[in-house]
């Protein structure tokens, strides 16, 4: 009996050690990549970066102000497309999700997760840019929204499925209509997890270049309207990073750091908005 317990103890320590080992292993690339970006980018950070427009080669100064604003606007557009459709689809799949149609939706979301971002860009190009005969921020936002859709849908579904039935039953037992139970009780309980899904999607969307190449194009100027090309951080980073100029490289790394920082801020904001005291967990 004692030896069986010893064995279980040993297994426990081993397993926990393995988890810690996994964390340490994951920390290696994490620290390496984040450290690399920070090291290369911190030198280029300056107030100008946030406020100036890009300068041509050879002229020092210049910044990514328009690209930062552009990325925020594009992400905002993408969220207005991706979040409603994604969350409501996730709700549908979780609460009403046993029909053949629901299986089809789930399957579509999974397959869409695997579509390369450039294919989404080309799709939106054919649909929106060619119809409008111009590149536009709108097209870029739509492309990013489609990119975000599968992640938000599936994480919403999975997190809502985990809300205990007891909560639903309690609501129904009180006579609250089912739709109200879902909106006020279930969604609210699942909000932190849904926020994670949304933030993961936003993080990806904010950093993608390919979907924007053919849709929002890029611009040297401050954004003025949604139906014109708009600057964005990932494309500006890409353009500068692939140039031969050391000065532009430095700015590209600083912009990459800026992008990471922006997403981190958005992440923290999302966490604060969905903060719940740890009750029931």
């Amino acid at each position: 009996m004692a030896s069986a317990y010893k064995r279980r103890r040993a297994l426990d320590v081993l397993a926990r050690g393995a988890c810690i080992g996994a964390v340490l292993l994951a920390l290696v690339p994490l620290v390496s990549v984040i450290g690399y970006v920070t090291a290369k980018g911190i030198g280029g950070l300056s107030f100008d970066l946030f406020t100036k427009l890009p300068a041509p080669v050879g002229e020092t100064g210049g910044g990514f102000g328009n690209a930062l604003l552009g990325t925020l606007m594009l992400v905002g557009l993408a969220c207005s497309v991706g979040i409603p459709i994604g969350v409501l689809s996730g709700v549908y799949l979780s609460e009403f999700g046993h029909s053949r149609f629901a299986k089809l939706v789930r399957f579509s979301a999974d397959v869409m997760a695997g579509v390369p971002s450039i294919a989404i860009g080309i799709f939106v190009y054919t649909l929106v840019v060619l119809s409008m005969r111009r590149f536009s921020a709108l097209a870029g936002g739509i492309a990013l929204g489609i990119l975000m859709l599968p992640t938000i849908t599936r994480t919403t579904e999975e997190l809502l499925k985990l809300v205990p039935d007891a909560l639903r039953e309690a609501g129904l037992a009180l006579g609250i209509p089912k739709w109200r139970v879902i909106l006020r009780v279930v969604l609210r309980t699942g909000a932190p997890g849904i926020a994670t899904g949304i933030m993961l999607a936003v993080a990806r969307a904010a950093g993608e270049t390919a979907p924007l190449l053919f849709t929002s194009f890029n611009s040297r100027f401050w954004p003025t309207s949604l139906d014109k090309p708009i600057a964005s951080l990932p494309i500006q980073i890409f353009t500068y990073a692939v140039s031969p100029y050391e000065d532009w490289h430095r700015q590209a790394w600083a912009a990459a750091l800026l992008l990471m920082g922006t997403v981190l801020v958005l992440n923290i904001a999302a966490r604060m908005l969905t903060y719940q005291k740890d009750s029931g967990r």
Binding site: L53, G65, R133, A137, T224, P244
Partner: protein
């Protein structure tokens, strides 16, 4: 707490929606724009800004971005937005007319010229070169003859101390290491120029591999973009690859002198590139589409190439068309002085005369856009 949160949500949404069209105030309300922008955004009495969109090749992007900034000082109304999405992208967008001008390293083929509705003009704007760059610690001044280059990239010559390489480089101590070939994995004008050169000097290469923006290289590893090749070269001793001159110069990679048609080993310096262009300037076809690889002349660097701007000869918008024509006129005259500092070669004078003719032929609404100069 809940009310604060709702307020925050509302504000975030409102901020997101703040991108709604506000054409009247382009630069206000956002963090301090530069003085140049303020001037351009609030002209006292002149007509509003002329926004011109261009797309295409990555090779001339640094020069074009310098040009549009300089030109904006001359004519503040003109706001040109050029983005590098690739030569093929440039050709496609100008064909679809989603941009006002395109840019391509390789001239369009006859097949491609069938597609646009309207006649597209090729305007050569500047020159560049493809250099053969290598990473051999301690070795500089490598000389390569055409046959050797073909053999290396075909995989026939496998090590650095091969006698064929030694034949041209008796003074260098070449190691016995294997040659690691690097090529471009993405379609590019650089590959097009390089393979055009190889095809021209080697019928065997033409037969086996051919020329184009994207070809099936017999050996080697592919890297994405000039910077990818440069990066791979820098981190891999014993490697060789082809990149734009500017990348070799800026990253400090060594590059080889190549033997030209006249039998001289020429370094890819700007004079050599311009020399290549001027030696063929008089033989250029009317539409100015021409490859200048393996050009004749003692001083010519054999792997040089033009880059073109693509415009429709009949412009739909007279104001935009005039601004574009005047910008291009400036670019091939005063603008050329900006080139050398950025590693671009200037157009030879004989060619500028031909380009002037082309620019005079641009019209809108039946009227030529440029007054006879």
């Amino acid at each position: 707490m809940k009310n604060t949160r709702n307020l925050l949500v509302f504000m975030t949404l409102a901020l997101g929606c703040s991108g709604a069209p506000t054409p009247a105030e382009p630069a206000e309300g956002t963090p301090a724009p530069s003085p140049k922008e303020m001037a351009a955004a609030a002209p006292p009495e002149a007509p509003s800004n002329i926004a011109i969109e261009g797309a295409g090749a990555t090779f001339p992007f640094p020069l074009y971005s310098k040009w549009v900034a300089e030109y904006q000082k001359i004519d503040p109304r003109v706001r040109i937005n050029y983005q590098s999405i690739g030569s093929g992208g440039g050709v496609r967008q100008i064909t679809e007319r989603t941009v006002d001008f395109g840019a391509s390293d390789a001239p369009m083929s006859d097949e491609e010229l069938q597609k646009p509705k309207g006649k597209l003009l090729h305007i050569p704007t500047t020159l560049g070169a493809v250099v053969v760059s290598y990473n051999l610690p301690g070795i500089v001044g490598l000389k390569l003859s055409p046959a050797v280059i073909v053999s290396i990239f075909s995989g026939d010559i496998k090590t650095w101390n091969d006698r064929k390489i030694k034949a041209d480089n008796a003074d260098l101590k070449l190691p016995a290491d294997p040659i690691a070939v690097t090529y471009r994995s993405d379609g590019s004008g650089t590959t097009a120029v390089f393979t055009q050169y190889l095809s021209k000097i080697s019928p065997a290469w033409n037969e086996k591999v051919g020329a184009g923006k994207s070809v099936k290289f017999p050996v080697g590893l592919g890297a994405k973009g000039n910077e990818g090749v440069a990066g791979q070269l820098k981190t891999t001793p014993g490697s060789i690859g082809y990149i734009e001159l500017a990348y070799a110069k800026q990253t400090g990679l060594a590059y080889a002198s190549v033997k030209n048609q006249a039998g001289k080993f020429v370094e890819p310096a700007l004079e050599g590139i311009t020399a290549a262009a001027s030696s063929v300037a008089n033989n250029m076809p009317d539409d100015l589409r021409m490859s200048i690889v393996d050009a004749p002349g003692d001083a010519a660097y054999p792997i040089s190439a033009f880059t073109y701007v693509l415009v429709y000869d009949v412009q739909t918008d007279a104001t935009k068309g005039k601004a574009l024509a005047e910008f291009l006129w400036w670019a091939v005259h005063e603008g050329q002085a900006q080139g050398p500092a950025l590693n671009y070669a200037t157009l030879p004078p004989e060619l500028v005369a031909r380009v002037e003719q082309k620019l005079h032929s641009l019209t809108a609404g039946g009227q030529p856009l440029l007054s006879a100069k």
